[in-house]
Amino acid sequence: MSTPTPNLKNRDLKRARFSRIFVVFGKEFRETFRDTRVLFGVVISPLLITPLLFAAIGFFVNQKIAEEKQETLSVALVGAEQTQDLTDTLKKDGTLKLTMLPNLAEAEKQVKDRVQRAALILPANAKTSLDAGETLNVELLFDQSNEKSRNAQGRLKEALKTFNEATLTTRLQARGLSQSLIKPTEVKSRNLASDKATGSLILAMLLPYVIVLSSAFGGMTSAFDTCAGEKERGTMETLLVSPVSRTEIILGKVLTIASVGMVSAVCSIIGILIAFQGGLRALGPEAQGKISFSYPAIGITLLLVIPLTLFVSSILLVISSFARNQKEAQSYALPGIMLVILPAMLSMFLGEESSISYSVVPILNTALVIKQQLTNVVNYQFIGLALGSSLLYAAVALAVVVALFNREEILFRS
């Protein structure tokens, strides 16, 4: 080993604060992604597990819908002899297996025993009533607690609707009246939204929530590992005896956690989009995964997500700095997690044109701006207030964590 050089030459020393912050960041980032817990939670789970899960849900929902459509359901009719027309209508429906029953008691018993899924009870005067052009009171028996019975009820109602329309036409014709007499208006709705906008309905509701949660909590494992974990393992002391200042250390760590949060958000977005493309066609046009996200919209979303990740990362590091070990940090974080989840969830139910006062509510403001971007709502006042307040919250949280990390009773708390 060579002799010591007490005064390291200036050219050998890079004293720039930023370079040290980035040295800490580089090491933390590399180490974080070697942690299998982080790799699984931030990359593998959203990119692989989420799409697979959604694909499985989509597959089973599709299968169930197809099965339900094809399945023949047994239904009963009491008083069939009263009206041949209704009996014929029911017989025409290939998805119904019609059985004639003699009385109400037998029909009730068979529906309860699930021999028949539903039953139509015609009154004794049905024929007279129909012939006289009156309204016939029909009773429909079904079992609300049974899914197939509910389906049979639906099919019987549909069949009755067909019967009603046919009977109405016959009655009007017999009297020489036109259909327009009973239909003063006919509504034809025309949707002006593009296919993309319609297609993004569920995504617009879900994505802000996913982006906010994943960017906020993607770095949670790393936050607890990088501070409380370092105390626990004894590496904190090793780091603190190097010339890097405590402020530089904590800034490097905040940057790491925020970056992991961003990676997590990106992976979650990709995962959700893959899931929507692949597995959720059964949920209708609203879930077809077509989405309109312009470059300015991406830019605005990023602009809002950065202070959000810095804000939450700083809070997570406050908890992590204060805790003696990772377990303690997790316990402290539990109530905080709810404080982030609640406003993020609220964004799912609030419209994109919400009150301006929401623009200063942390977390919710970011989620709502993302929602606006997804639904092509432009509200610069809302964006400006949301960005300004988010930056302020991030700055305050950052100042708190820097101050806390500089306190030796916190760092050497045991």
Partner: protein, 245 residues
């Protein structure tokens, strides 16, 4: 060169109120010498060394490393010290090479200087064989060698060892002892805390016995033996701290 002048450190404890962990400790360590801080557990050795390493701020008193005030320029002080203790652990998910590289960069070494220093140190400590292995997969002895490399990468003129052999086996302890002797040979100022008498006898040119936060005796091993009239260091120590044998 290390100078500690009337160093005091108090802590606030919920149960015990204000605790004076270090209470007016003074000593001086010179280059090319090993200075031992000898004391029982809780005597104040670690707190004193942590103040010298700028991990803790003194409540009162002064300390200088190569003439630099630990309170006024802590970052400058840390550039000039190497710190090794049983509790300065390694980053498990980094390789041995990455670990040393990381600290070299924190010390501001340029890449070419860092590469040269790493090659020299890895040669001397025979680390090439496991340099690419993750720290959490290394044996205790290999880990200790990585710690040594980490503490010396910036060629510090002052080395601080806080009970560095605590909990280590004989072979690993021997590696540390040889490293401390090498530091002396290279002209570094070495301060070394321990409660193991054999380590004191083998290594220390001068010692300070610390008890309840204060220095109760100072001198060479021989001068303390002479002063107490006792030969075994254990007996010398017990007499000086006022404990019956």
């Amino acid at each position: 060169m290390i100078q500690a002048i009337q160093l005091v450190k108090t802590f606030r404890d919920r149960k015990r109120g204000e605790v004076r962990a270090v209470d007016g400790v003074s000593f001086e360590c010179r280059p090319g010498k090993i200075f031992g801080l000898l004391g029982a557990n809780g005597a104040g050795k670690t707190t004193t060394l942590r103040m010298l390493a700028t991990l803790l701020e003194p409540t009162a008193g002064e300390a200088y490393i190569d003439g630099i005030d630990v309170r006024l320029e802590p970052e400058k002080v840390r550039e000039r010290i190497g710190f090794l203790s049983a509790s300065t652990a390694l980053y498990g998910r980094l390789t041995a090479r990455e670990m040393v590289q990381y600290f070299g960069r924190l010390y501001g070494l340029t890449e070419d200087v860092l590469d040269r220093r790493m090659k020299e140190i890895f040669d001397v400590l025979e680390m090439h064989e496991f340099a690419s292995g993750r720290c959490d997969k290394l044996s205790t002895g290999q880990k200790q060698r990585v710690s040594i490399a980490r503490s010396i990468i910036h060629e510090p003129p002052v080395m601080i060892f806080d009970e560095p052999t605590n909990g280590l086996d004989v072979m690993t302890s021997r590696t540390i002892m040889r490293f401390i002797e090498r530091c002396r040979k290279e002209g570094r100022t070495v301060i070394f805390s321990t409660h193991i008498m054999s380590e004191v006898e083998r290594l220390c040119d001068e010692i300070a016995i610390i008890h309840n936060g204060t220095v109760v005796a100072k001198g060479t091993v021989d001068s303390l033996r002479e002063a107490t009239g006792l030969i075994p260091m254990e007996s010398v120590f017990l007499k000086l701290v006022g404990e019956p044998e």
